[in-house]
Amino acid sequence: MHGYALVQHIKQQSNALLQVQEGSLYPTLQRLLKANLVKAQWQTSQTNRRVRTYQITAAGVKHLDREKSRLHRMLEGITLVLSPVES
């Protein structure tokens, strides 16, 4: 998936609740690329445009799992804090 498609994908999948700031997307992709969490290659898109597509690497998958786990723990914590206290 290339950058522009990624922005659209996130927007659609989240019912427009999440909107990636395009300006922050590309520097982030470059950092992921440098950390070998994703790999990139230039391809021709369906609209016959030269685009750079990104694919997650094995290291990226592991990293994503760790981050997901952290996010779940954080959400769990937030939920507990916001739950009504039993008297």
């Binding site: 290339h2 522009y4 300006g23 590309y26 520097p27 470059q30 685009v51």
Partner: protein, 322 residues
């Protein structure tokens, strides 16, 4: 050649990051055109949505660069361009910088000369101060003439020893009068401190016989009164109504004892043997022999002091310290 590969790879990634952003903007503007906007409006809105394109390109490129180094190189290029376009301003800047650096160098020279410079004596680690300790405590002070002579002649710990007394005197040289730090010194004073006149001659044994006739001055005293010229015999100074021949000039920066910023050194006017043993009017300094430690010197002086105390009935505890 890994570094070359890395440099080339980084450059490629940087260029690709910029191209990718351009492609993104085109794709977004085409989508907006499909919604009915004109080409110019679509491109303009795509850029607005994207944010500061130049900044984001720069941030993406920075991932692959050495930001500090590149920023430094960029600053240097900008500075050189500015200097070339404004030669008058450049000259002024260079002059100000030159002046600033010059002033700093001058200040450092003074700091180095006054604070950082090591003691201006040969092998200062072997120099010790010799003083008396009072029997009723740890206080110590000056030494008497006879005691100094007895310590010097009976101890084998020192290559040489010297006594001195400091004062501030009024002095006239070449018609100008001033107050100067002065020291009356014993015969081996310069030898003990390991300093030689750079112009003229040191004191000789004969200079210490009879009335004082000669003096040695500091380099600053010489320059102040006779100009920045090499030493030449025949100059005199007058103090307490006595005219003294200046026989030598000590190296620049030598002012021992520095507490009184000494600029003039005379032979003692009086014989150290003839003064009262109870008159503790002098300070003393000794140069340890190479194979003698300060502890050994202290032990010798203490033993001599005990003998003197018995034979003279005068309290003569003594202490040596560096």
């Amino acid at each position: 050649m890994n570094w070359l590969k890395e440099v080339l790879t980084r450059k490629r990634f940087k260029d690709e990051a910029a191209e990718e952003i351009e492609q993104h903007l085109l794709e977004r503007s085409e989508a907006l055109m499909a919604e009915g906007l004109s080409h110019a409006d679509a491109l303009s809105q795509a850029k607005r949505e994207f944010g500061n394109v130049t900044l984001i390109k720069e941030q993406s490129r920075e991932t692959w660069g050495w930001p500090t180094l590149e920023s430094l190189a960029g600053d240097a290029r900008l500075a050189l361009r500015s200097l070339r376009h404004n030669p008058g301003f450049s000259l002024l800047t260079i002059l100000i910088l030159g002046l600033g650096i010059g002033v700093n160098a001058a200040i450092f020279s003074v700091v180095h000369g006054v604070i950082l410079r090591p003691l201006n004596y040969r092998d200062p680690g072997r120099l010790v101060s010799i003083s008396m300790t009072w029997p009723d405590g740890d206080k110590y002070g000056q030494i008497s003439g006879p005691d100094f002579l007895d310590f010097s002649s009976q101890s084998h710990a020192f290559e040489s020893t010297a006594a001195y007394a400091s004062d501030v005197i009024s002095v006239v040289a070449r018609g100008h009068s001033e107050y100067s730090g002065a020291s009356y010194i014993s015969e081996h004073f310069l030898q003990t401190l390991g300093v030689q006149p750079y112009g003229g001659r040191p004191f000789l044994a004969n200079d210490f016989v009879g009335k004082a006739r000669v003096a040695i001055v500091s380099a600053s005293f010489w320059i102040r009164h006779f100009g920045d010229v090499p030493f030449s015999p025949g100059q005199t100074l007058k103090t307490a109504g006595v005219q003294l021949q200046i026989i030598g000039v000590l190296p620049s920066g030598f002012h021992f004892p520095e507490s009184s910023h000494t600029e003039i050194w005379f032979p003692f006017f009086e014989s150290l043997r003839d003064v009262n043993r109870g008159a503790h009017n002098y300070q003393a300094v000794g140069r340890l022999k190479p194979d003698v430690s300060i502890k050994q010197a202290q032990a010798q002086l203490t033993a001599i002091a005990e003998r003197l105390e018995k034979s003279t009935q005068a309290p003569t505890k003594v202490r040596a310290y560096t």
